[in-house]
Symmetry: C2
């Protein structure tokens, strides 16, 4: 019998990358993001010094609040054993989201839930490392009962019950190995969002389209929502470059009101988009449903700002989304993602995770992989976002081959950042930020 692993210390880092310097990630709503991570390390007494790593993603200012929120939640984990969590993962999640005073700050949304995502993912990273398996494999090796026991069904039983979930998973159980074989051979399909950012000049968009085509991509995403005229011009350029075979996705980053989204998409439909992403407020379930009815057969996609499983549930119940874009750390980590994957499978809505940022590709590959292996069992219309940024900071970065994510093989959740990156990009005292004194001056006199 293994010795229990105790969490003896919790280290929190505020890590920021000065990406705003190069228009990387610019869009209609987020004009100058500095991709950032509130990063946590669970230190343990494991004889091999195994640590659990996790992060939540932000775009700069405010990252300190997520870091501080991780500290506020840390007493819930400190001096406890990994086994006390893994023996009932559902109860663990209920505990970490259920502190009777901290719950007031959400519940289950915003800063406190972003912090929960980092900590919950760190626990799963630790669990997978101790078991010596990549996260997807740890989950794939669970029985339907074990996997479903990781989920807190509070507030979603009107959409799915544990019993229904178990019976859905049982249907897929005997063929799991076939899907693992398939992924080991082919990988999981990806799409690129490196082209079509709002901040890029037309010639750069053309160049990126050509490169995407040459590199074997079949999907491309463009940002919309600045001015309709500008959106139409850039969509025409992209269609001209990539042809009609490419699936074109449009992303409005919440820029529009409901009726404005309907009106603008009537025009932009001429470019035959596959989906329109974040057409309006991420909180507007009825609005998304209205837009979905109006723009059909263009699909409505959302999720990167969707706060929790209760909102995802309603988006599905209302027929408001045709594509479910889970985010690995805006919701409360792996446990809540499993709840969302189960509902998406029941409603037969394809899951195409939000990625990019920093570490999000590393995270979500595991989630799409387990969705295919054990939950939906489907690949049709399912792809993972891919952005070729900041992977060099990770110990076990994603590997893309022929437009597909290859299966991670190292133990854990692939989110461990290199020690030197944690130090160099530490905010505000890391080497990179010391050099950015001009930038610091700018942020100290915001507005």
């Amino acid at each position: 019998m293994k010795k229990p692993v105790t969490i003896i210390d919790i280290e929190v880092h505020d890590v920021r990358f000065p990406t705003s310097r190069s228009s990387i990630g610019s869009d209609a709503m987020n004009v100058d993001p500095d991709y950032s991570a509130a990063y946590v390390i669970l230190k343990t007494d494991h004889p091999e010094d195994i640590e659990g790593h996790g992060l939540t993603f932000t775009i700069g200012r405010g990252n300190e609040l997520c870091a501080r929120a991780i500290e506020s939640l840390s007493p819930l984990l400190l001096n406890k054993t990994l086994e006390s969590f893994t023996e009932n993962m559902g109860a663990f999640w209920t505990m970490i989201t259920g502190d009777s005073q901290l719950r007031w700050l959400g519940p289950e949304k915003g800063v406190i839930h972003l912090a929960t995502g980092a900590l919950v993912n760190a626990v799963w990273d630790l669990y997978a490392k101790v078991e010596g398996k990549p996260l997807w494999r740890l989950l794939a090796d669970m029985t339907p009962e074990e996997l479903v026991a990781c989920v807190d069904f509070k507030y979603i039983t009107d959409a799915i019950t544990p019993e229904e979930a178990i019976s859905m998973l049982k249907e897929k159980e005997t063929t799991k190995h076939e899907r693992i074989d398939y992924l080991e051979k082919h990988g999981y399909p990806a799409y690129t969002t490196s082209a079509g950012w709002l901040g890029y000049p037309d010639e750069k968009i053309r160049k990126l389209c050509r490169e995407a085509k040459a590199d074997g991509w079949k999907h491309i995403k463009m940002k919309v929502g600045s001015s309709l005229e500008d959106d139409v011009r850039r969509a025409a350029i992209i269609r001209e470059e990539v042809g009609e075979d490419f699936k074109l996705m449009m992303d409005a980053n919440q820029k529009w009101d409901v009726n404005e989204a309907v009106k603008n998409m009537k025009i932009l439909s001429q470019f035959n988009p596959w989906w329109i992403e974040e057409p309006t407020s991420p909180d507007d379930i009825l609005g998304h449903a209205k837009i979905a009815r109006a723009v059909d057969p263009v699909l409505v996609a959302t999720g990167e700002h969707c706060q929790n499983r209760t909102v995802f549930k309603q988006l599905m119940q209302a027929g408001a989304i045709g594509i479910c874009q889970i985010d690995s750390c805006r919701v409360g980590g792996v446990n809540e993602i499993l709840a969302i994957l189960l509902m998406a499978a029941k409603f037969d809505i394809p899951v195409c995770p939000h990625a990019g940022g920093v570490g999000l590709c590393e995270y979500v590959q595991h989630l799409s992989i387990i969705d295919y292996i054990a939950i939906s069992g489907k690949l049709e219309d399912r792809i993972i976002e891919y952005v070729d940024h900041l992977h060099e900071h990770f110990v076990d970065p994603v590997v893309i081959k022929n437009g597909n994510y290859l299966l991670p093989t190292e133990a854990g959740y692939s989110i461990t950042m290199k020690k030197e990156s944690l130090e160099e990009y530490s905010f505000p005292h890391g080497a990179i930020w010391k050099a950015e004194s001009e930038y610091k001056l700018k942020t100290s006199i915001i507005g």
Copy 2:
């Protein structure tokens, strides 16, 4: 011409009251609240040293996150003039909620939005003090155009447009003075929630019911959601004590899943409740709509955890609420409250604000008053929650007479806390908390 007032410093306080020592405020979800405030003071160069005060309410742990978030937002206000905000209050609100990086942490929800509420309310307090008027009077003196210009209509134009709002207000404009006269004579009706908390023994509930009756109250609220059997027993006691004339409200504090709420309310309906409050997750618009249809004619009430105007909009559009319980500082302060009041008036849904906690009664009296004077123009089925706790810490506390809130007369938003209370209850170094060493030991080993 008046000299502009510049915000020259912003002071933030973490203030907590050890209310958990006496079961005050205990309910099914919040078992041991320590009523707390992340408190902000806008210091100015006004010749009379006028300050703007604001707070956001929490129930203990995590209050430090709201305080820190106020600091993160403060650069958006510092060294600016009050006049630069008041010349276009709608634009001010768009600015404070629109920082392109901080927005990621919500948007407009959780910690960052609670902090926004404190700061926005502090600006309104400053504005009213500089004008020498109570907040309600400052708002009542505005033209329909001026009042509507305080609102950011982003994401709600599918429910109400600025033009509609102005024309609604114009209908009420000529009779405002009649309603002011009425309120000056009678006050605004209140209800008490001091009875019926879960943590109280039956005899204490009986005693509180008798006191409420003797004091002239006509409404009473009880907490439900622990065990159905217990809820039935306590409801029977309360009805026995207060009779059939009293309006009985039930509050489940989000304890139930959707189908559970429907099932339990079928039983609890025998006690003829006026409303069921927070029957399930505050995020579940479709769930509330389903419950509302099932429990009719009992009304569904919610709002104290409703994150922003976009969710309130949908609750109204879906017919999910019969009572709208705005919270003065969970949403982004006065400007966003005005948006919600306008929508409630359009959908003809009575507004009965959430109060209690610390400072919430002081805040919301102004909001209900302006709703009656200038927006809905109605008093039918409208009452303000009242809890007789912690008012002694305020410079200008609420005054209740014959079960009615009397009109505030001092300039400002009534939220200025006494200097000695700010010091004594400062966490963790104030005198009260130094004495609570036993408590501190308990919280340091949570769980």
